[in-house]
Amino acid sequence: MSALSKLKEAYLCLKAGRVTLPYPARPQPVPPRFRGRPIFDANRCIGCAGCANNCPAREILVFDVCQEIRILKYLGRRCTYCGRCADLCPEKAITMSKDFETATPSIADLQQTLELFMSTCQRCGRCFKEPTPLEQLKLKGYRFDDLAHDRWIFRSKAYLEKDQVAGDIDLELD
């Protein structure tokens, strides 16, 4: 019966009533797991480049401008907000914010550039993030009276072997 089904359809519409949300006028709260634009925290970032290596959209660039400064740049062009960077960050320096209204005429509004001051390993010349483990101890109030001169070997497992450090100060900092 077609007439009956038309009546049923009319009833469906009447019962539903108005369902449109007054969205831009009254913003809806987003669910707790919502992933919006990632925000990078320069204070916690150690410049390990884990986010850059694991970004599916390849939106995060890490490069060294000199031995002391490492630049981490989030480009924000085609980021898919998958949240892999935030998952993988060992220091939890990346948070997926609730910020989803990212329409903007200039891409620079979305971009973020971190300048990280790194220390230089005196052995291999690679840079790594300050403060070093030793300086962290210093900041906490430990004293290294016997290390009068500043020439300590920073911990850098990838490049230093234990027996190569003969003559230098052997530090175990874990």
Binding site: L4, S5, K8, L12, A16, R33, F34, R35, P105
Partner: protein
Amino acid sequence: MASRDILHQLKQRFGAALPRANVAGLDRLYVFVTPEALKDVCQFIFRDLDARYIISIGADDRPYSGKFLVAHNFAFDARHVLCSVLTEVNANGGRPQVPSITEVVPPANWAEREFRDLVGIEPVGHRYPKRLVLPDGWPEGVHPLRKDVPHDFCPPDYDENRDFQFEAPPEGCVVVPFGPFHPTLDEPTHFRLYVEGETVRGCEYRGFMAHRGIEKLAETVLGYNDIPMMAERICGICGCVHNVAYAQAVENAAAIVVPPRAEYIRTIMLELERLHSHLLWVGLACHIVGFDTLFMQAFRIREPVMWMAEQISGNRKTYSLCVIGGVRWEITPELRTGLRQVLDKLEAEWQAVVAAVSRDRNLQRRTRGVGIATPELVKNAALIGPVARAAGVAMDCRRDHPYAAYDRVEFEVIVEHGGDVWSRVVVRMKEVFESIKIIRQCLDKMEPGPLQAEIKDELPPGRFGMSSVEAPRGESHHFVITGENNRPRRWRVRAPTYQNLQGIPAMIKDQQLADMTISLGSIDPCFSCTDRLEVVDIRNQQTHVWSQEELVRLARRKT
């Protein structure tokens, strides 16, 4: 053991032509065949053993074995086996040749044309060796999926303004272009319809206008765990399907066991996706035939499902669910109760809609007897999903090749026998209830445990993996050869529309031109898309592309 039986049968028939085979478990079979015997073996599998054709893969294996690789994948639905017939083809100085199987296996048509374009393996004896994927301005002899071509390579003599070459229409017919931009077509694709009066006599298809080269990216740039997020962007609706299918293919290749809780969560998300996709499709189909009431109602009912998905995974559509060996999102007890409430409400509301629509004569007059796919067409064009089920062919990967937790839940495979668009509407409407049933069972049976398997070693290179996942619109098939540098050596995605589109010329033949849109819409086509607004002033022939700023201003201006 089913896969061993099949291998035994093949060996009895073609003893010397099978140099080696790999029985990778009960449900996977990899058979290497000499190129000379390829056609006979495929014919035997497709016709005598009554297997279903899935896809053909061409791969450049020169850096590892010095040869090219061609694989034809088949599925033995009744015996629950996925089988791959592999051939190693001599490089022949960069011009490899393989015998074409389209004569005996007609659905291999597009796949062979595709590896001819992208890998440069010539299918000898193909009846219509025309370009499929590459644009006509692309120079001869450059094949993007070869290993020596970088992923961002654009040949210097590429002429992007060159027009496509089309065949001449048959006599007495006029050409009606349909697409790339058409009011009822969501995404760019071009059908060149040959119309006699109001009747469609044939068509030529030209698609792949938004080819994004995701497979190439995966083989050269991304890592194993980046690809799931990228695979999700293959399709706007069955994203999670590709995500799960890729992860399963790699797990299948590397023999990683996924924890049961992760399997249940995958099943729940896949079924959530089927729910919202079917609701969306029923709405869109009604919209295409001009019945917007149901379009609105279907979308209203769909919305809570999207909100639920957002609560579970943090996003309405792109769930970023899988990594190799598990899932990322946990379903907490609060989410579980929320999901149950959504399902209860959805079931009641959808029942009301089905009761109202199932007798609607206007809708039936537009859809009955339109776009008919017969069981023969299903076999010969390898149609899948609701299109096949509406034609009376009961195939469903969830039942035939169980993955995730589908072997632990009970559900029915909905089959209709009309073969027309109306049957597809009915199949999809009824499948919504099956999905609700599956999610409820999963919520009951979900066991505690870890979300991800621990993977300690590197994934072994050179292994094959296959995975079929039932997407809302058909079966998605992923084929992976694992490789070095933390990324696959070859990854081939067969989305369901790839096969279903090949059945469209037969479905629309000798039909009214006005039925073309709903016939095409009934397979739920999904051409990947990118779009922008361009305004053409017809008085002075000037075009103007609107910038985002202008669009925003335009949208905010009060009308």
